[in-house]
């Protein structure tokens, strides 16, 4: 059973029953072309060498696997290690994917890139990649997220990207994805859409997972080198699910490694109060693929809430849906308040200000460590740094900056 988990998707983009392509016909040809080009690039040593070089010299990989001694002492149980994606250029894991997709954009001879962003980290990473390679960059962002993430909006503009506010619906990530898809419908011949998570139609979930798998590959090797064994437990936060997919995938066949994805529990379990798709959703179609979706009985997507702009998405990647149903990965939720607590604990005990997304994983890791014995190792993906979140956190804590 577990060995087959790493051999997905099939050629039609199926992760078991999940994934595939539910998009308008206008996009089908571009998806075929992208799939073929990506398959060629994957086999092309020159492409891989260029990507490796960029990840090393531009992104700053490998980043450390850091033993959080004080947090471990505080919990009094298992040893907590952090995979430091926050130390990447741009301060988050998102750049692993945008570097790869920017190289693909150029292979396909396209000059224009569109992207969507929630917290702004993927928008920044797209703007960075486009600035680095001289590509035109348009970033779609919900107006509510523009309000929450002013710093990232400013950074994107500084790097030459155009940020287009989206005022429809809940004015958040889901609406930004809709708008980016619409742009792509009319520009698909000249434009590549750099999807920022393991969502969307095939080949995006596979491709983004592959580009992000560098996280888990490095963590696996570093853990073996630093502790002499594989981790007992790997934890990462899940919105669309790209940092967690990249973290989990290289461990998926290691049956002894427990994997936990942490969703945004928001204010509670009632509909509209959280963004815990795998905990509370049902199977359905959203943004071009089949997976778990937070939806009503008519298939209408529900509004979601999270303290984190990067996690408040009503869908999730199809591979996570597959992992959930196979039982390989356990998914759970952490509330807004618990995440805020995790944020502060991390800052005080480790001198690291984490992204509010990552704070969900941290809050869960604290709970898990307390239940674990001192000889157990817990590896947490610290998916990004929290500079972008400090204004929002200060507001929520009632403090002034």
């Amino acid at each position: 059973m577990t060995t087959s988990l790493s051999n997905v998707p099939d050629s039609s983009g199926r992760f078991g029953e999940f994934g595939r392509r539910f998009v308008p016909e206008t996009l089908m040809h571009a998806l075929e072309e992208l799939t073929q080009e990506y398959e060629k690039a994957k086999q092309d040593p020159a492409f891989q060498a260029e990507l490796d070089d960029l990840l090393k010299h531009y992104v700053g990989r490998p980043n450390p696997l850091y033993f959080a001694e004080r947090l471990t002492e505080h919990c009094g149980g298992g040893k907590i290690y952090f995979k430091r994606e926050d130390l990447n250029h741009t301060g988050a894991h998102k750049i692993n994917n945008t570097m790869g997709q920017a190289l693909l954009t150029m292979r396909m001879g396209k000059k224009r890139v569109i992207a969507e962003t929630g917290a702004g980290q993927h928008g920044v990473a797209s703007a960075v990649a486009c600035a680095r390679f001289g590509l035109e960059c348009i970033v779609y962002m919900g107006e509510e997220d523009i309000r929450r993430q002013k710093l990232n909006v400013f950074n994107m503009k500084m790097m030459g990207a155009e940020v287009r506010g989206v005022s429809s619906g809940s004015k958040t990530l889901r609406d930004a994805v809709n708008e980016a898809m619409r742009d792509w419908m009319s520009s698909v011949e000249t434009t590549h859409y750099i999807i920022g998570s393991v969502i969307g139609p095939h080949p995006f979930p596979m491709m983004v997972r592959d580009f992000q798998s560098v996280i888990g590959k490095e963590a696996r090797e570093q853990c073996l080198a630093q502790t002499g064994k594989l981790p007992d437990h790997v934890i990462a936060c899940v919105g669309g699910g790209s940092n967690s997919a990249g973290m989990f995938y290289p461990f998926i066949d290691d049956e002894g490694v427990k994997l936990t994805g942490v969703e945004a529990g928001g204010r509670g379990p009632e509909p509209g109060e959280h963004a815990s798709t795998l905990s509370y959703g049902a199977k359905g179609v959203l943004h071009g693929s089949f997976g778990y979706v937070l939806q009503d009985d008519d298939g209408q997507t529900m509004d979601v809430h999270s303290i984190s702009a990067g996690l408040d998405y009503p869908g999730v990647g199809p591979e996570h849906s597959y992992w959930k149903d196979s039982g390989r990965v356990n998914y759970t939720a952490i509330t807004d308040d618990e995440a805020l607590e995790g944020f502060q604990t991390m800052a005080r005990l480790e001198g690291i200000i984490p992204a509010i997304e990552s704070s969900h994983a941290i809050a869960y890791a604290v709970k898990a460590a307390r239940q674990a014995s001192p000889d157990e190792t817990i590896v947490v993906c610290l998916s990004g740094r929290g500079d972008k979140d400090v204004n929002e956190v200060a507001r929520l804590l009632g403090r002034e900056i």
């Binding site: 308008p24 206008t26 619906g169 809709n178 419908m185 009319s186 359905g284 939806q295 008519d298």
Partner: protein
């Protein structure tokens, strides 16, 4: 199977006319209005009606139709209520409804349950369905089910669809082929693209099914461009944008319905050349 859609296109062909198919959003602003608009469109002699099911995340639609969907959903639109309302309308012998074609996201069909959806759609009087986010590759299983339910599954072809793919799509289609005029979303455009003619000619060489053109059509001059090349045309945004007037306090409901009917009547007249 000869469906009412096929029969309609055959009749129109014998009369040397194109089919005019207006699109309306179900439930904008409410289902009672949808029913009255349908009656008005029937009176104006439209040939078929495309009934859009409001969806929260429509990626193929432009802002006019998205806003219309939002109005309907905010007013509490539910799929089952639409089916019930249309079932009652179909049973009304004083109304001679044209064939109805549902435009519906697969997200709705899957969640509702494909078998239940098809059964209720057939009972409500639908003759066919267009499922824009279920491209030919993904449609095989659902296509079987629609055949069983005696509904046509209309397939879309875009100007970017390569010929080998088009061949596969048209083989699996029935009812008519929905020819997307431009790469992009729905919405009114000033001119139809010049390459549309070549695209229609190419499609004509691949299938005997009627060709209906959609996206960007809004005025009689567009219809003239299509004459002799297409078998029908669909108008969406140009009609749907008139639905915003239902919330205009200076207009009565009857005035808005009458205005929609007048426009539909002019476009229906344009099909006669």
């Amino acid at each position: 199977m000869t469906s009412s859609i096929s029969e309609k296109f055959a009749t129109l062909k014998s009369e040397n006319r194109m089919a005019f198919m207006p699109f309306i959003t179900a439930g904008d602003p409410d289902l009672a209005t949808t029913v009255d608009v349908l009656k008005e469109l029937a009176r104006q002699g439209v040939d078929l009606v495309e009934v859009g099911f409001p969806y929260s995340d429509p990626i193929a639609d432009g802002p006019v139709i998205q806003e219309s969907y939002t109005r309907a959903l905010n007013n509490g639109f539910h799929v089952h209520d639409l089916f019930e309302a249309l079932k009652a309308l179909s049973a009304d012998e004083s109304v001679s409804l044209p064939p109805l074609v549902g435009m519906v996201s697969y997200a709705i069909i899957f969640r509702y349950g494909a078998d239940r959806f098809l059964q209720e759609a057939a009972d409500a009087g639908f003759s066919g369905l267009i499922v824009p986010d279920l491209p030919g590759d993904e449609a095989q299983e659902f296509a079987e089910k629609t055949r069983t339910a005696q509904l046509d599954l209309v397939q879309l072809v875009s100007p970017l669809t390569p010929e080998d793919r088009t061949r596969r799509i048209v083989q699996a289609a029935n009812g008519f082929i929905y020819c997307i005029s431009v790469a992009g979303t729905t919405g009114v455009r000033d001119e139809l693209p010049p390459e549309l003619t070549a695209h229609l000619e190419s499609l004509r060489s691949l299938t005997d099914l009627p060709l209906a053109v959609g996206f960007g059509i809004s005025k009689p001059s567009h219809v003239d461009t299509l004459r002799g090349k297409a078998d029908g045309f669909i108008i969406g945004s140009a009609i749907v944008k008139q639905f915003a007037a239902f919330s205009d306090p200076d207009k009565t409901r009857d005035e808005v319905i009458s205005s929609i009917g007048k426009y539909a009547g002019e476009m229906a007249a344009a099909t006669k050349g």
